[in-house]
Each structure stands twice: as C-alpha cells, then as structure tokens.
C-alpha cells in the first residue's frame, strides 16, 4: 500500500511538472522525418577512424600533451583565433549531443585542445543516430533536459529559436570570442532569427555535379565545361542515356531530394522556394515552374531513370554502381566514393547555369541550450569549436568541410583525383537552404505533390499551384 501511495505521489508530482510545459507523447519509430532535406553532416572520414567509439561518449579530461591542433598563421580576414581570457578554474561537466558517429574522432581531437585552456571542464559526447536525434531533442526540450551544447540544422533551427530554447551568441560576438565574418554569410543568416544570431556554423555543404569520366569516355561525350548551361546539361544527359543504353546506364538522375535537385534549379531560374520573410511560398512563380520543369523534361527525354526506379534505388546507388554518368550531390558524397571502385574515375563540375548560377548551401551549427546549467562553460566550448585551430583540425581530419574561412584545404586534398575545389568556389553564389519555423510541414507537401509533376502525370503548373496554396496555409499556421 505504501508503495502505491508513494508512486501516486510521484505521479502527481510528475503531473505538475508536465502540466507546466509539456506535450503529449509523440515518439517516433526509427527514422524521424522532421528534417528530410537533410543536415549536411557528412559521414565517413577519409582517414580510417581511430576506433571511434571504443570509449564512446566518455569524458575527456585531458591535461596531457597537446593534440595535433596548433594552428598555422591565420588566413586573410580572420580576427580572433582563440577565445579570449580563458578561465582555467572553470569547472563543469557538459553534454555535447551529435548525430554522426564518424565525426567523433575529430571532435575528440578538438576537445583535447579545448581542455588545455579549460582543464576542469569535462565534456561527454552523446551520439544519437540521425533517425532518433530530433525525437530525442524534442523530448528533452519539452522536459528541460536539453544537452548543454548540441548540433542544430537549418530546418529545425527556427523552431527551437522561436521557442526560446537556444541561447543567442550575441554576448560572445561582442566580447570577441566569435566573429561571424569568419563563416559563410549565408549560414550566419540561416542561423539568425529576427536579427539575432543563435548558432555558430561548424561546417558547410554545397551541391555540385559528380561526373563519372569513364562513362563519358565510353559514350564518347565530352566532359562538361565549368560554365555550362541548362541546355548543355539536358542535352548531355540525353545523349549519354542513349549511348549507354546497352549498359543499362543513364546520363542524369532526377530525385526527390530538394537540397540537391530542385531547390538548386529553382534558384538557378531566379526564383525562390519561400519568401525571405518566410510567409509566402515561392512555388507559384514562373521561375519556380521553370525550375521544376527542368526535371520533368529530364525524365521525359529519357535522360533520367523513372520516378519509380529512383524511389526504389536512389540516384547515389546508380552512380556508385557505375550506372549513372552525372549525379548532383553534396560534398558529403565524397565519403561514399572513397574506397569505391569508381573513385579514380570521378571528378566534380559546378552546377549548370540557368538564368543565374546558384547552389544550395547548408551547414550544421553548434548551439547552446538556453536553459543550460553550465552556460558559461558551454559557451566557452561553443566558441572554441568555432575557432580557427579547432576548425583547421576538423578540416585536416577530413570528416567535413569546416566553416571557418581558409581551413578547408584538408578537404580539398582528401580526394586528389577529383576537383573538390569546385565545392568551395561555389560559395560565391550559394543560396541558403529554404527553411521556416516548421519546415517539415511543407517539406511533406513537396514530397506528396511534386512526384506527379516530375513524372508528367499532372501538368507542372497545376501541381505548383496546389503546392503553393497548401504551403501558404501551412506557413500561416506557424
């Protein structure tokens, strides 16, 4: 009986707590759909991972010899390289939540450097698989148990920022610990809301075209030039498909991943997916129609596998099997290519030009929880991870393209046979990934309605009209 009363009391206490802030249980199965257009975490390191999780998640209080992270002289316009006035007496235990197991080695190297300045701060790295990361984060946010520092991506950012769950970096900017000018402007803008920046970009990804030179040679088609246009792309794709038909290979591939396909073409047509104020859809414009029509034409000309084929077998698989000559993908794809049988045949060319040149840029940011009990330490960690030495380390270890200007050489060198510099050059015309407060809601609409436009089942204009209407409704609800 006593147990019963005790438990009842506990339940009542829980109820009180819950009534304060939470929502009902809404856990999800393994894959979470809240950010289908992907974060830009590139998995896979070009260096064999150093037994990444043998001690997965344990703390690193390391006051031993320095890690390999001493920085070279700063390049052009960087200001501060390390957080000013490090306080060695600061004592705390932090939780740092991430979703990519493959980056843990680089993070640990960063932490070694961090602990030299802050020997008494212990950091636990918590890896949650991508499919569960957002479910867990929402659960924690609703319960006040957010990790002190965690990864954030574009699609989810505004939700957390607008609900006051993450801490702005204003104080760090004014103290000089972080200088937004060191990072791609588009990303700084993406992680700002109402003029206040909350997140520090940690890496970035752009999209270009991976080409399989061997297939081009086999078909007797010339490789694309850097300034090629939409017409060139369509023509080349069609020609390749025709010539490679006997091998069951294709020239190009459409797909449902906006970040690598139709967002880019919409931008290239001069349009946009969502208005800058995030209130109206950009789909009902002639530019968006042109951007979508691009893929419809690609499929109807036979240059691309059909929608059904692509659903079952992703374009990346086609490419990796040597059955696709051109693949629009992000730089993260490099991880899959290294060690594959086509690695030596691959190179990179920029996206073709529509009315303008454009590519989509996205990157992961480190954010501090607004309710963190160790805010000072967490912010110190945030600043350190964004500093030049730490970013240089990340770049050298090859897991991602670091965001800090001038630290990306390690990435470029990781695959010498391919022209990875293209990804960096594209920064000049990169547009941020379209996001809003509830990105997932209209992403779902895109996934539902666009396939008919691509496959030609319905006229593009009709589909886009419907999509814009429903998207505007969703945006109005935010």
């Amino acid at each position: 009986m006593r147990k019963f009363i005790l438990a009842a009391g506990v339940a009542l206490a829980a109820a009180a707590l819950v009534a304060g802030c939470s929502s009902t249980g809404a856990g999800a199965g393994s894959p979470s759909g809240t950010a289908p257009s992907g974060s830009s975490s590139s998995s896979g390191a070009s260096i064999p991972s150093q037994g990444s999780s043998a001690d997965g998640g344990s703390s690193t209080t390391d006051t031993g010899p320095a890690g390999s992270s001493e920085s070279e002289s700063p390049s052009s316009n960087t200001s501060s390289q390390a957080p000013p006035a490090a306080d060695p007496s600061l004592k705390a235990t932090l939780t740092y939540a991430v979703w990519d197991q493959n980056q843990v080695a680089a993070i640990k190297a960063n932490l070694k450097g961090f602990n030299k300045a802050y020997p008494n701060v212990t950091v636990n790295v918590d890896v949650t698989p991508w499919g569960t990361y957002w479910t867990k984060l929402q659960t924690e946010a609703s319960s006040g148990t957010l990790p002190d520092l965690f990864w954030m991506n574009g699609p989810n950012f505004q939700l957390y920022a607008s609900n006051g769950k993450i801490e702005p970096i204003t104080s760090q900017v004014s103290s000089g610990a972080i200088d937004p000018a060191n990072y791609p402007q588009a990303l700084d803008a993406m992680y700002s809301l109402d003029g206040v920046q909350y997140g520090v970009p940690k890496d970035f990804d752009t999209v270009a075209v991976w080409v399989n030179k061997a297939l081009f040679a086999k078909a007797g088609v010339a490789l694309p030039k850097p300034d090629w246009t939409w017409e060139d792309f369509q023509r080349t794709g069609k020609e390749l498909s025709q010539k490679l038909k006997a091998d069951g290979a294709y020239g190009a591939a459409a797909g449902m991943d906006g970040q690598t396909t139709y967002y880019d073409t919409i931008f290239q047509a001069g349009g946009q997916v969502i208005s800058p104020d995030g209130k109206t859809s950009g789909y009902d414009s002639p530019e968006a129609k042109a951007g979508i029509q691009f893929w419809t034409d690609l499929m109807s000309s036979g240059a691309s596998p059909t929608m059904a084929q692509l659903t079952e077998t992703g374009a990346d698989q086609w490419f990796l099997s040597g059955k696709l000559a051109m693949y629009q993908g992000g730089d993260w794809f490099r991880a899959a290519l290294i060690g594959s049988k086509i690695e030596k045949d691959v190179t990179v060319v920029p996206l073709p030009k529509g009315k303008v040149q454009a590519t989509v840029i996205h990157g992961v940011a480190n954010v501090v929880a607004a309710g963190s009990k160790n805010k000072q330490a967490a912010q110190a960690l945030q600043a350190y991870l964004a500093s030049q030495p730490a970013q240089q380390q990340q770049g050298d270890m090859g897991a991602v393209i670091p965001a800090f200007n001038g630290t990306q050489q390690g990435f470029v060198k990781s695959m010498p046979s391919a022209d990875l510099q293209v990804f960096l050059d594209e920064l000049a015309y990169a547009k941020p990934l379209p996001i809003s407060k509830n990105t997932a809601a209209w992403n779902a609409l895109e996934a539902k309605l666009l396939p008919d436009a691509f496959s030609g089942a319905k006229p593009v204009a009709d589909v886009l009209g419907q999509l814009a209407g429903e998207m505007n409704q969703a945006l109005a609800k935010e």
Partner: protein, 288 residues
C-alpha cells in the same frame, strides 16, 4: 479455416499415414521454411560482401571475395561487448521481473476474489491498445522526475510491467482445474502456499512462452533506451546498431554483420527454451 486446409492438402485415405506419405509434408514445410529463412540467407550474403557489391545495380548475388572483415569491423565501430552486456542485463532484469509480476498478478486475476478484479484487469489490458510511441514523452518525464535519466533503472523501468504477460499468465491459470486449489485449501494451505506449491509449477510452459516473448521484446528495444540515456556505453545493442545508420551513409555490410551477431544470442536462447516448452508440455500431459 477448414477451407484453407482443404485447399492445401489432398485428402488421405482413412487410417494413419506411415513414413512414405510424409514426404509431401516435408515439401510444404521445407518451402515454407525456405521462404521464412530466405531474407536471412541474403543477409548473410550481404554481410560478406563489400559496400559496392551490396549497393550495386543490378544486385550482386554472391560476393567476389568473402569479406570476413565486416564482422571484425563491427567491433571497431561499436563497443559491441559493452552493449551486449547492457542488452543482456536489461533483458534478464526485464524478463525475470516480468515473469514474477505477471505470474503473481495473473494468478490473482484468475483465481482470487477481490472487488474491482474485473475492472482492474480491463484497465491493465487497455494499455495494449495504444501505440507505444504515444507513451514516449510522458514516460520520459516520469523517469526524469524519479531521477532515473541516464541510469539502468530508467532504461528498464517501463518494460517491467506487461499487460500481455499478465493476459498470458491469467489465461494459463484459468485453465488449471479448480479441484487442485480446492484440495489445497481444504488442507489448510494459505494463498501464498497454494500459489507457490500448487499453481506455479503447473504453468511452466506458459512461463517459457512469456520468457521468449519478453526476451525478444527487450532485446530489440531501441527508441526508449536511445532517448532516456545519453551515454553510448549504456546503450543496448539494438540502439548501438542504429548508430550505424548515418544520415547520408549506411555501411550496409557492417550493419548486416552486426545485426546477425546481435541475433545470435537470442536464437540460442530460443533453441534452448523451446526444448523446455516441449518438455514441459510433455510432462503435464493433459491440456490443463
């Protein structure tokens, strides 16, 4: 149901079949068994292939070289043995506690008299009607307020209480003859003694079935441990496997290898327990 059977087998002559006509049974069972096992055969093939072969279009049916490395890589990518230990610990705790709680409660619901018995049993059963995802946030906050976040207690707690198990055990007890109980009571035994010495020994097979299902449920538990704990060395194996599925990249061969390795202990447990079920049944003889 009768019609399905009719369609499946030709009518035999009256009389018992001898060995000769059993071959077709082997055919049916063999084909059925093959269909059941086929995906696993494929999984084995995938676990011995390279990533390129697994993802190739068209698929590769047999790897050029058997890649035993994939199995070794599992140990490199996961703290396999720590997670195995956690899984074992979780499973054993949940199975034992469930068996105890469900057996006691099942007996009470089946045979004891108390007010609200029917209502309470209905309430317990009703929790099966809600999908598990619905419970997530509430249970998280309850565990949080108990201070059990990031502890083994927090991971195992909700899984200790099973409506299915109670249902199962109650059914088992209900099917036991009343006379046994009556006789024991006439001999002056109290409820605890009746329960322990008379009833429990007779429901061995049901306990075995409960054990099997609980072990499986516990072994594959994924979402809850991931959300409740933040330390990789506290994760069970199923959660660890999930970390192999990255955002952009899944290492298929290693995932397959790890999955096979994770299945092995349960398979062994099943083979062992299965015998006990059969033996248990044989010893009780009758249905009751």
């Amino acid at each position: 149901m009768a019609d399905v059977s009719a369609a499946r087998k030709p009518p035999t002559r009256a009389g018992t079949p001898r060995d000769g006509s059993l071959w077709w049974i082997h055919v049916v069972l063999g084909v059925g068994g093959f269909v059941m096992a086929f995906p696993f055969l494929w999984q084995i093939v995938m676990s011995l292939s390279t990533q390129a072969e697994v993802q190739s279009v068209p698929p590769t049916f047999w790897p050029a070289q058997l890649q035993w490395d994939n199995f070794a890589n599992v140990f490199r990518l996961l703290p396999f043995f720590s997670q195995l230990r956690v899984s074992l610990l979780m499973t054993i705790i949940q199975t034992v506690v469930q068996i105890v709680l469900c057996t006691f409660a099942g007996y009470a619901f089946a045979r004891m008299r108390f007010h609200g018995r029917v209502f309470l049993f209905g309430v317990v059963l009703s929790i099966l009607l809600i999908p598990s995802q619905v419970y997530l946030l509430s249970q998280y906050q309850i565990v949080q307020s108990l201070g059990w976040l990031n502890t083994l207690a927090g991971i195992v707690a909700p899984g200790l209480f099973s409506a299915f198990g109670t249902f199962l055990m109650r059914t088992a007890f209900v099917n036991l003859p009343v006379e046994l109980e009556e006789a024991a009571r006439l001999d002056g035994a109290g409820p605890l003694r009746i329960f322990g010495s008379v009833m429990v020994p007779l429901v061995g097979p049901a306990v075995s079935v409960l054990a099997i299902t609980t072990i499986l449920f516990s072994w594959n538990l994924l979402l809850w441990p991931l959300v409740v704990s933040t330390r990789a060395d506290q994760m069970p194996l199923a959660a660890g496997l999930a970390t192999l599925s990255g955002n952009h990249q899944i290492d298929y061969p290693v995932l397959m290898a790890a999955s096979l390795m994770a299945m092995a202990p349960v398979l062994i447990m099943f083979i062992v327990l299965q015998r006990r079920v059969i033996d248990g049944l044989a010893s009780t003889g009758l249905k009751g």
